[in-house]
């Protein structure tokens, strides 16, 4: 038996500083460790701040999905205040977060993941007259001929591997890769129309949205939405299906525990009746959501002591290791290895994200349109619901999310009443707690806030999608969700572990979020 170790540090094209290590036995991953390598400590630093800063500051936890933190923080404060935004406030908030979620899914597919599947060097054979592709071809040609130290960066070097073979499909994907930048900028404009700017939209507050909707900004929103729709239904759909058809094996790779957690997401104007149902699917059985089942553990995280299972707001201090302790743990064979903590649901490891959202909603039967779309894609691709627990299942689920969101955005933009302010103000309450839950692009996101007798933050807790996915082992030794996904994977070439990179990226890790 031959054993090797593969360490990838950093894994690029994810958000933040991610490292992972696997032990390979006979070409197959026997064990894995995933590590978040950034700590800022923003969560507990919020203690003593005005609670309304949480909307702005928790956004800065992540520049890729700031909108979800703004929303979760707003919901937590509204929960504490006992208020809900009016219909316009809810709709405008949806227009902001919905557009942002679509942007983020496109960002994940094209910028972060596509280069693992498509072959950019196919552009060298391009003979057409598309200005983007010709510019890119001439550039790659000149670069590869030059004596430069890193020709064709940032596309090369890359892991060697089995990229898409079909020339036309590659060219079309490269074209769409370039095009997607412009589409994403349009989606950011849609966010900015009501959010003020993007990233870090400022206008989401507890009580609604501060931007007054006008006939003008609603019309601009509609125009941009139509452009985005065209791209999604032709380009994005084609590319995702091309990859799915060319790499069917990836509906089997990257299997995790198959336990899925998601929160109710994207309500109607009343704040109820969500497009995506929440809940937990454990061993194929869907159950209603129980927020009390959530705990976090930091046995293998770079904090002092072992913690065991701690409920949100159960700790108001986390003491990070100092440099010496950190180095000592790094040397230990079973030492602490991540800044991320390990969330558990009734003691179980859960996967969060697009696949969880789709699987839970499907099982709940609450959204027939989602079930129809899933059934149709399953027929076309010859897969079943259990295959969503895979690399391609996760990518496909993002397309499903985007497709349903766009339709809902189109309906909701028509429901906004121009001229009516979607914001109501309420005094900051004292000695209360609040919970806000939503879905970031990366999955289930919860904010917990406790407000003291002066109306300032007494404690704050954020449990992030990536913490669920990328968290380390817990006190009982259970591997985290992505660690489990890596175990059992066959590696063709340990020097080019493209299989592992594809698996980790499919979970769309965001390290800045997970460690905050």
């Amino acid at each position: 038996m031959t054993a090797t170790k593969i360490t990838v540090d950093p894994l690029t094209r994810v958000e933040g500083h991610l490292k992972f290590e696997t032990r390979i036995e006979n070409g197959v991953v026997a064990s894995a460790r995933t590590s978040g390598m950034l700590f800022r400590g923003i969560e507990k630093a919020l203690i003593g701040y005005d609670p309304r800063t949480a909307l702005q500051l928790t956004q800065r936890v992540c520049g890729v999905c700031p909108y979800a933190h703004a929303e979760a923080a707003a919901l937590a404060l509204e929960n504490a205040m006992g208020i809900r935004p009016n219909a316009n406030g809810q709709l405008l908030r949806n227009l902001i977060v919905g557009a942002y979620q679509v942007q983020d899914c496109l960002f994940h597919f094209y910028q972060l993941s596509a280069l693992d599947f498509i072959d950019v060097t196919a552009v060298l054979e391009y003979r057409g007259a598309d200005p983007g592709l010709t510019a890119m071809r001439d550039w790659v040609r000149a670069e590869t001929r030059s004596q430069r130290i890193f020709p064709a960066a940032p596309f090369l070097p890359r892991y060697k591997g089995d990229f898409l073979k079909d020339r036309e499909a590659n060219l079309s994907a490269v074209h769409n890769y370039l095009e997607s930048f412009t589409v994403m900028a349009s989606l950011h404009k849609m966010v900015a129309l009501f959010g003020g700017k993007s990233p870090h939209p400022v206008a989401i507050e507890a009580g609604g949205v501060t931007t007054r909707p006008t006939i003008n900004n609603l019309a601009q929103y509609r125009t941009l939405l139509n452009q985005v729709e065209r791209f999604v239904h032709s380009c994005y759909r084609e590319d995702i299906l091309a990859v799915a058809k060319a790499f069917p094996g990836y509906f089997k790779e990257g299997r995790g525990y198959g336990n899925f957690l998601s929160f109710p997401y994207f309500p109607d104007s009343s704040g109820k009746n969500h497009l995506f149902a929440g809940g937990a699917t454990i061993v194929g059985r869907h159950t209603a959501l129980d927020l009390n089942a959530i705990t976090e553990d930091h046995t293998y995280s770079y904090y002092k002591n072992k913690s065991g299972a701690v409920k949100p707001l159960g700790a108001n201090r986390l003491e990070p290791l100092d440099w010496q302790e950190f180095q000592r743990e790094e040397q230990l064979p079973d030492g602490k290895y991540s800044w991320s903590r390990a969330p558990r649901y009734g003691g179980k490891v859960m996967e969060t994200g697009a696949a969880a959202r789709v699987v839970n909603t499907y099982h709940s039967g609450r959204n027939p349109a989602l079930n129809r779309l899933v059934d149709q894609l399953n027929r076309d691709l010859g897969i079943g619901l259990k295959d969503y627990n895979s690399v391609l299942g996760r990518h496909l689920s993002r397309y499903i999310t985007v497709s349903l969101l766009l339709k809902r955005l189109k309906e909701q933009v028509e429901q906004v009443q121009p001229g009516v302010l979607g914001f109501s103000e309420k005094e900051m309450p004292r000695n209360v707690k609040g919970i806000g839950i939503t879905e970031a692009s990366r999955g289930a996101l919860g904010h917990w806030v406790e407000i003291d007798n002066k109306g300032l933050i007494k404690n704050y807790e954020m449990v992030m999608p990536t913490t669920w996915n990328m968290g380390p082992r817990d006190a009982t030794g259970q591997p985290g969700a992505v660690e489990q996904m890596l175990i059992g994977t066959r590696i063709a070439d340990p020097a080019n572990p493209l299989e592992l990179a594809r698996i980790v990226r499919s979970a769309d890790p965001c390290i800045a979020c997970s460690v905050h």
Binding site: T7, P10, L11, T12, R13, E15, H17, M37, F39, R40, G41, I42, A45, I47, G48, Y49, D50, R52, Q56, R60, C62, G63, V64, F107, Q111, L115, A129, D130, G132, T134, A135, W139, I149, F150, F155, P157, L178, F181, T182, A185, K189, A192, G195, G196, K197, S198, P199, H200, V202, A203, T210, T211, R212, Q220, Y302, F326, E425, D452, K454, L456
Partner: protein, 317 residues
Amino acid sequence: MTITLDRRKFLQRIYQVVLAAGAAPLLSFEELLAAEANPSSVGWSRPDLVWLQGASCSGCSTSFLNVEQITILDFLTYFSRVLYHPNLSSATGTQVPQILNKLAAANKPYILILEGAIPVAMPHACMMAHKPISEWVNLLAAKASACIAVGTCAASGGVAKMAGTLTGAASLDDFLKQRGIKTPTVNLPACPMHPEHLVYTLLHFIKSKGLPDLDDARRPRQFFTHSVHERCPRYPAFQARDFALRIGEEGCLLELGCQGPVTYNDCVASGYNGNTNNCVRAGHPCIGCAGELFPRARLYHTHDDPAPAPGVIVKRS
């Protein structure tokens, strides 16, 4: 020939970015055409860039992708070369330290772009390729022709350095001073950075081989000479002492905590996302995201809050 036409169209789109960045005085369309035909005739050379993320949220990288008219890759491949960017590079794992080490050893000019702050008191709070990010910045900044700090975290600490954090986050300037590194820097604060500010700074470098005109805080004067307040559409209301007491009201937002008077940035004049909007236009007080004291412990308050005047830092209990 169609190809030539397309090429011209492509260059026109590139030039839109030059215009959007306010860099037309640096580079005319004719010069761009001439550079295309014969780069050396106009002293054209594309700088090599390496982009590192310290304690950051990647928001500035995301913001940079919002450049209008063309894809940012068109821009990057045309005006510069991105040797490494954490979110764009195909290189991963051991390929990354290889690139960075080779670059530091190559003795060729390059620009280091830093997004995020540097945790100095806790070097292990930001690790990459088994090394603290502070060591990578140290290695690459010392050899760089110039360093650009993008965003408030890199320029002055931002949320990474907010009161109550434990990592001892430093801005790029403070870090270089501590290490005695003399490489010239440019600060582009704002949370997130305006993509146009970076485009302008890079064009300046390409055209004049030097940095734009900077103020005492090493920010380009072009963008940071005026406060948000001075150019605010609500400034006439401020002068008339007409203050909004609630969100949604007309009038100056000062009573709601607006940080515009103490924040220098051009976001009111040029907006975000291709001038789609900005904070005060969205009915929200400026939260001072480009300021050195960002974030304060109170960023927005309601008129009947027992709140101190804007700008006063609330004591942490």
